[in-house]
Subunit: 486 residues, 2 copies
Amino acid sequence: MFDQFEAQAPLDKESFERQSLALRQQLLEIQFSLENTRHPVIIVLAGLDGAGKGVLVHRLNEWMDPRGIETNTYWEHSDEEESRPYLWRFWRQLPQRGRIGIFLGSWYTQVTQQRVDGTIDDQAVEAFCRRITEFERQLSDDGAIVIKLWLHISQETQRRQLEEKAPRRQQNPRVTDHPYELVGKYQQAMATSKVVIRNTQTFQCPWHIIDGEDRNYREIKAGEIIRDTVIRRIENLEPPAPLEQLPEPQNALASVDLGKSLEKSAYKKQLRKYQAMLQDLAWEGYRQKRSLVAVFEGWDGAGKGSAIRRVTGAIDPRLYKLVQIAAPTDEELAQHYSWRFWRSLQRDGRATLFDRSWYGRVMVERVERFATEAEWSRAYREINEFERELTLHGSIVAKFWIHIDQDEQLTRFRAREQEPYKRHKITDEDWRNREKWPAYETAVNQMIAQTHSEHAPWTLVAGNSKYFARIKILKTLCKAMEQALY
Amino acid sequence: MFDQFEAQAPLDKESFERQSLALRQQLLEIQFSLENTRHPVIIVLAGLDGAGKGVLVHRLNEWMDPRGIETNTYWEHSDEEESRPYLWRFWRQLPQRGRIGIFLGSWYTQVTQQRVDGTIDDQAVEAFCRRITEFERQLSDDGAIVIKLWLHISQETQRRQLEEKAPRRQQNPRVTDHPYELVGKYQQAMATSKVVIRNTQTFQCPWHIIDGEDRNYREIKAGEIIRDTVIRRIENLEPPAPLEQLPEPQNALASVDLGKSLEKSAYKKQLRKYQAMLQDLAWEGYRQKRSLVAVFEGWDGAGKGSAIRRVTGAIDPRLYKLVQIAAPTDEELAQHYSWRFWRSLQRDGRATLFDRSWYGRVMVERVERFATEAEWSRAYREINEFERELTLHGSIVAKFWIHIDQDEQLTRFRAREQEPYKRHKITDEDWRNREKWPAYETAVNQMIAQTHSEHAPWTLVAGNSKYFARIKILKTLCKAMEQALY
């Protein structure tokens, strides 16, 4: 990598001016050609302190139309960031389709810093890098053009740079100790960087190592790489992502015993019991700063809403947020489909309850063809990775599919049409979906087969008896939290 | 208020059931009739601890379609909230048009709490209440239906309630000490509440005081108030907001001496000087946790972009965010027009630079008739109140209008059409706007007359000489920050 790395001759002012004039024009053109495409551009600017990342940002803003560019820096973390899964802070800053996001300090910052500080070992670095490559793969699969630039400088150059900056540094002590700078520690920083770069060097999102010694050279070079990568991608010169090979799903739904039921009196007793238990567990979760992420899915009319109310009825309003998933807004459509779920995650110690969820991707979006096969078939992996990020952070994940049979659904639809205050719940769409029952059945079975994991298990709830279903859900939540908290 | 307050007879179960069935249906109907209107509904639930606010939330969610309701609670504040103007935390939680937001703990929480704790005096309470009424007036003017409910209970009732809750409280100690509960302090809490209610009792957003002794009664009552208020509003029975009376603007633009200019050599020297100064001031602002909010407006072709680049070129990328204001997204259109500016405010110690801003409301939106006269004419007051909130929080506000004359604009438009990498900057729209020069001139003059204040002053920048303009802006920013920081 850096070993077979060739130092470049500096670029004289005059040829810089000439090349920069042409490049500037080309960069502007590709910037405009990005508009109304599905491609956001994500530029990761990395390199040791003193490599000239900052000035490169200014140059790119000067060459291109700054209206389409956002620069994001990561050094101090707010408690809202610290109290959510690590990647949340980056998800919330991702550029929209057609826009350019420059990351000065990125998902590479912390892992590098911690390794240099010796707070983590090489194994941890590799594990972390796997998560980074998953993250980048997800973005790239969705259309993002991820460009990773490493500005390489020699040890003396760094020393010289730091000495020049020294006076300013005394004035602005903060500069010297923010998380992503590796001031002075050239050897350790380079050693770690090599490991990180090697472990995150993928075909889809490769690293570009640029000789950073000469400002003119590195700026032209960076501009050219950005230009060429974007052109290659928007002209679709890269091969289409292969479809995931999925095993035949077994019929999990068939295994649900819909005969189960519960007497009203027993229901009332257990409801009180488990709601009280859940209330205390919610507070214990708050004390331990562990958050709960619960997903509620099920057939239309399965009783999702009333079951969720029994859960929210138990938890202090300060400790939960109910997130209703409907049609995405345009800000959400301008991002990876996971973005809207990342954005609604609550802080540690709180519960986030999803009434419908990211599983819409592999159910309604699949059946209604809102998502292409490539999109929904890779979504299983994306979902598993998303939920692993949650559990790695310490969140407790519970997923419920409330199951009923077609007769029960029919009965409930009819009943709803009678009750004035329930009529709104039953629409033509519900009747249309009902006709697609078999298609949904296949989708649900595959979803369960693909996304049922130990850290984020599915609970299939027998829903023909609402009483039974509600208690089953409360009980399962209590058990999951108890296991995690005690 | 509470003195002439009449205690109500409790409501028996049977009549509750009957009334609730009808009410539920009516509430659902108004909830649906809200869809696709410009009206968000903001329900403030207040009252002493033990008054039954929590159970009322559950009831409302049961009566209405929870998909259209968000419940917000305020007790602990994140540092991201603490490090922004006080109202930011509420702005970011406001419901979209057509939706319902229930605030359990609200902008009334802190002021009441602090008064009871004795950390602020009555004068401070009154000042704070003025800001609250301004806030509510802004939301209401924009279509929000603000419903403020106070659940009133007697001292014994509170004592009884607290005793019942006592065992749970021991388990969940957090409950007893969160900011908005005034556990036990009945007398002081009531005294303060009276002052706060009296000071925020407006025609537009009145308080409704409900006897909270009997659960059945208070829930029916609350439901009825919500129903009636919403109906009155969406049927437009309330008189239209009167137009603001605006004084004739003096011609501020005429006073700008466009003859001013600067030599290239002098420019280069001063650029270095003031950029270095600004860099240090930005770090000093960071140290003192004071944030800078700078607004850049000006004629098309006035050189906003290049001037802004000289500012961003001086500030460490970690310390500023450049916010480009273009057409609003649908999430932004679903909110008060100020919402998008509130949402982009950076944290204390950072600079937020607005390339175009909230002043679009009284310029382009006025001239192009995107905003009604009622909307843009009340916007001056809203803007002054917004900027007042910023400065009250300690932010440094600087506003620039870069002025050029029509000939200079023409020259620059022509020049841009020649330069390949500038061509994108000049569009048909620019030519169209140019024809509306007089209309914009009136709007700009009025804007300056209405929104030039000591705490948030306008700087009119002579822009015919770009060199002069850039230095003028850098110098002004340095001066403003110096005065604030030293």
